[in-house]
């Protein structure tokens, strides 16, 4: 009986940790950002608000115009 409840607790604990990790990963992927790629193969990812804001503003306008 006791070992069963321990197992249930362990399973619940593991499940919530995995769920939390997946949720955080998904949230991070959906965070607003800008990825710029250049001809020499380099890439710049702008995630800080002050850097990304001029791009985000224009992109919002484009989405609005494009419907």
């Amino acid at each position: 009986m006791r070992s069963r409840s321990v197992l249930t607790g362990a399973l619940l604990g593991t499940g919530s940790i995995v769920g939390g990790l997946l949720f955080r990963r998904r949230l991070a992927r959906r965070r607003e950002r800008v990825d710029v790629y250049f001809g020499d193969g380099s890439m710049v990812s702008l995630t800080r608000m002050d850097e990304a804001e001029p791009f985000l503003r224009r992109a919002r306008r484009i989405l609005e115009l494009a419907g």
Partner: protein, 138 residues
């Protein structure tokens, strides 16, 4: 392939692209999936501004040439891809398959680029010769 045909093909092959505008540096619209020409012009203008912002970030002193960009928003993504002097701006729903969208947009610009010189060449080469042969027979 002209711009409307290239855009029609893009819509056939890519279910993720909602709207697309092909334009030149300076904002001249070459083709668009948008029915409203004024909106297409504004999209080209805003995308040109995105390009200008992006070019400032190239390399250490902005030296690397811009190739493509994606702006990820909660409401969807905006893509801008360059091929020579032509650019295409496109919108997609949230969380698109980024690599595929870039590939499809680049293919669209290449289709347009390859077709442009082929259209002008044939008439000057082909028209005089067949006429002479048909004149000689009867």
């Amino acid at each position: 392939m002209d711009a409307p045909a290239a855009l029609a093909r893009l819509r056939d092959i890519s279910s993720q692209v909602r709207a697309a505008v092909i334009f030149e540096r300076g904002g001249k619209v070459v083709g668009s999936t948008l029915a409203d020409g004024e909106r297409a012009k504004q999209v080209a203008q805003e995308s040109g501004d995105l390009l200008a912002e992006a070019e400032l970030r190239g390399g250490d002193g902005g030296s690397a040439e811009f190739a493509q960009l994606e702006v990820v928003l909660q409401a969807g993504s905006v893509f801008v891809v360059r091929h020579g002097d032509r650019l295409i701006a496109a919108t997609t729903p949230p969380e698109p398959t980024v690599g595929l969208v870039f590939y499809d947009l680049k293919s669209c610009l290449r289709d347009l680029d390859e077709a442009a010189p082929a259209k002008k060449a044939p008439p000057t080469r082909q028209s005089p010769r067949p006429k002479k042969k048909s004149d000689a027979k009867p």
